[in-house]
Amino acid sequence: MSKENEQEIELLTVHSRTDVEQVFRYSAGRYLNRFLVEMRDNARIMGVKCPKCGIVYAPPKEICDPCYAEMTEPVEVGPEGTIRNFTILRAPFVDPETGQAKPVPYAFGNVELDGAGSLIQNFLLTDDDSKIKVGARVKIEFHEERTGNMRDIKGFRLID
C-alpha cells in the first residue's frame, strides 16, 4: 500500500469484548491444599522442609528445586518475619484477576518468616511508609473471614 493511501485511511484498533469473563479453576495440588486449609482453619502458615538441604519452603511445594528432592515434613513458620525486599507500587494498572484498578499506592515485599528459608510475598501494612526497610520486622495478619485463598492474608504488619 502506498504512503499516500496510508495517510488517507483512518487507522482503527478493534477492541475485544470486555463485558464477558472467562473463569479459570486451578487445582491447588496436594501441597498447597494443606497450606491453604491450615491458613483458613487455624490462621497459621505451614511450610515443608527439604530432607536434603534443610530449607523450609513456605508456601510449600513438592520439590526443592536445587536438590530435586521430594519434601514431606510439614513445619509451622512465622508468624513473625523479616522484610528482605520491598517496593511501594505507585503506577496505576488494572488487576487482571479482578478487572478492577489496583488501589495504588500500595507497599508490598518479600518476607522471610521465622523458621522459613524461602520468602512469601504480600502487602506491607504500616501507617508510616518510612519504616519500611530491608531488615525491618513484621508480623503476619489474616482476615477474620477466610476462604482458603492467598487473599486470606491481609498482609505483614510492621512491628517495632
Binding site: P59, D65, T87, L89, F93, V94, P96
Partner: protein, 386 residues
C-alpha cells in the same frame, strides 16, 4: 559439538508505542523483509522458521501458525519458542541449536511484540503463579523494584548511580534509527521523573514498544558464501531457576546470570570480560540492571558497578561500550527485545551498525533477561570458531 553457525542477516522494524499502521503479521513481515534484504536472500532460500513473542500480551496462541501470513512460513517447518522476557534470546540460542544440529541450513528467526495491544503490567501478572503470586504482584516494574531495593541496601548504590545508566542508554539511542525513545535525558530529569515503584522512577524504566526483529542463521557450509562477514556464535549459556518470585532469595546478585556467565567464560576461556569483549548489548530493562547485572557477569567486582558507569567505561568510546543501540531502556518490544540484542551485535561484527558502530569489534555479547530472573547469554565473534 555440532556445526558452526552464524547470523548472516538481520532486520528490525521502526518502533513506536503504538504501530497502529500495521497488525501483528504486517509488523512481522516488515522485519522479515528487511532481514532477507540484508542477507540478499529470498524467502525461497529459507528452510525453516522459528518465532516467538509473549503470548499473553496479544492473546495470540500457537504464534508459529498464526504468524504465517507475515513470516513467510507457508509450507515450511515452523516452530515457536516462547520463554517470557527471554523469548528473544531463547530464539537466538534455539535458532543456533537448530542450524548447529545440521538439520537446517538457512533458518529464519523472528521475535515480535505489539505491546500496545494489552496492558503490559496486567498481562505480566497473568504470567505468574495463579494461586500464589497474582494477588500482590505488579509486573516487571515491581519485580525489578524489589531487586533494586535489596541491592541498594547491601551496597549503598543510589538512585543517582542508576540514573547515570539511563543517561547513557538514552544518549546512545539517538544514534539508532530503530530506537523508540530517541531523546537524551539528564541525571536531573531522571531524578525528577515521577516515582512509579520505589525506588524506580519513570526514566529508570523501559518503555512499552511495538516492534519486531528477524535474523537469519546459516550453517558453516554456506554462511561465508552468502555473507562477507558472518557473525559466528562462539558459545551460549542459559539458566532458568525458579518460577515463583518469592523463592528467589538474596537479590543482591542474580543467581541465573552469575551461573550463566561463569559457564560462558569457562567455555570460551575468557578471563577478563571487560578487556576481551568489545561490545555488549544487554537485556537491561531498567537502569539498576546496568549496575547489578554488569557486576554479576564479572565485568567488575560486586559493588563497583557505579564507579565503572560514572567513569564512562561503558559509554560509546569507552573500554567496553554497553548498549550502543540505546538498549532496552530506549526500546522494548518484549518478544523481540532479546533478538534485537543478537541482531545489534551481529551488525557490530559485520561493520553495519551505522552511527552506533563501535570500531574493530571482534567479540560481542548479547544477553537476555526474563521471567523469574532468568538469564541467557550468547557470545558472537568475527572469527569462525575453531
Amino acid at each position: 559439538m555440532g556445526k558452526r553457525a552464524a547470523i548472516i542477516g538481520t532486520g528490525q522494524t521502526y518502533c513506536k508505542s503504538i504501530r497502529r499502521d500495521v497488525n501483528g503479521q504486517e509488523l512481522i513481515n516488515e522485519a522479515v523483509t528487511r532481514a532477507l534484504e540484508d542477507a540478499e536472500l529470498t524467502i525461497d532460500d529459507i528452510d525453516g522458521v522459528v518465532i516467538g513473542n509473549m503470548d499473553h500480551f496479544e492473546g495470540i496462541n500457537y504464534v508459529d501458525c498464526w504468524s504465517i501470513d507475515g513470516s513467510g512460513g507457508f509450507m515450511k517447518p515452523t516452530m515457536k519458542l516462547c520463554t517470557g522476557g527471554t523469548t528473544g534470546t531463547t530464539l537466538g540460542i534455539g535458532g543456533y541449536h537448530m542450524v548447529a544440529s545440521g538439520m537446517f541450513e538457512k533458518l529464519l528467526v523472528i521475535g515480535w511484540e505489539k505491546n500496545s495491544e494489552s496492558d503490559t503490567t496486567g498481562a505480566i501478572v497473568t504470567a505468574t503463579d495463579p494461586i500464589l503470586d497474582r494477588g500482590v504482584m505488579a509486573g516487571a516494574l515491581a519485580g525489578l523494584a524489589i531487586e533494586a531495593s535489596e541491592y541498594a541496601a547491601a551496597y549503598g548504590a543510589t538512585s543517582k548511580d542508576a540514573a547515570r545508566v539511563s543517561v547513557r542508554d538514552r544518549k546512545h539511542a539517538c544514534n539508532n534509527p530503530y530506537a523508540h525513545l530517541r531523546k537524551e535525558v539528564t541525571i536531573e530529569e531522571v531524578l525528577n521523573s515521577p516515582v512509579i515503584s520505589d525506588p524506580l522512577r519513570l526514566l529508570d524504566m523501559c518503555p512499552r514498544t511495538d516492534g519486531a526483529c528477524a535474523v537469519i542463521y546459516a550453517s558453516e557450509e554456506v554462511a561465508e558464501k552468502i555473507c562477507p562477514q558472518p557473525a559466528w556464535v562462539v558459545k551460549t549459556a542459559n539458566r532458568h531457576c525458579y518460577s515463583r518470585f518469592a523463592d528467589i532469595k538474596g537479590q543482591t546478585s542474580m543467581l541465573s546470570l552469575t551461573t550463566a556467565a561463569k559457564e560462558l567464560w569457562a567455555k570460551t576461556g575468557i578471563k577478563e570480560p571487560l578487556k576481551e569483549i568489545d561490545v555488549v548489548e544487554m537485556y537491561q530493562p531498567y537502569s539498576w540492571g546496568g549496575l547489578i547485572w554488569f557486576e554479576d557477569m564479572g565485568f567488575c567486582k560486586k559493588g563497583e558497578g557505579p564507579k565503572y558507569i560514572w567513569d564512562g567505561v561503558t559509554d560509546m568510546g569507552g573500554e567496553c561500550p554497553v548498549n550502543p543501540s540505546g538498549g532496552v531502556i530506549s526500546t522494548n518490544p518484549i518478544g523481540a527485545t532479546g533478538l534485537i540484542r543478537c541482531a545489534e551485535v551481529a551488525h557490530q561484527i559485520m561493520g553495519k551498525a551505522g552511527d552506533r558502530q563501535v570500531p574493530d569489534v571482534e567479540l560481542a555479547l548479547a544477553t537476555g533477561f526474563g521471567g523469574c530472573f532468568w538469564s541467557d547469554m550468547i557470545l558472537y565473534s568475527k572469527n569462525k570458531p575453531a
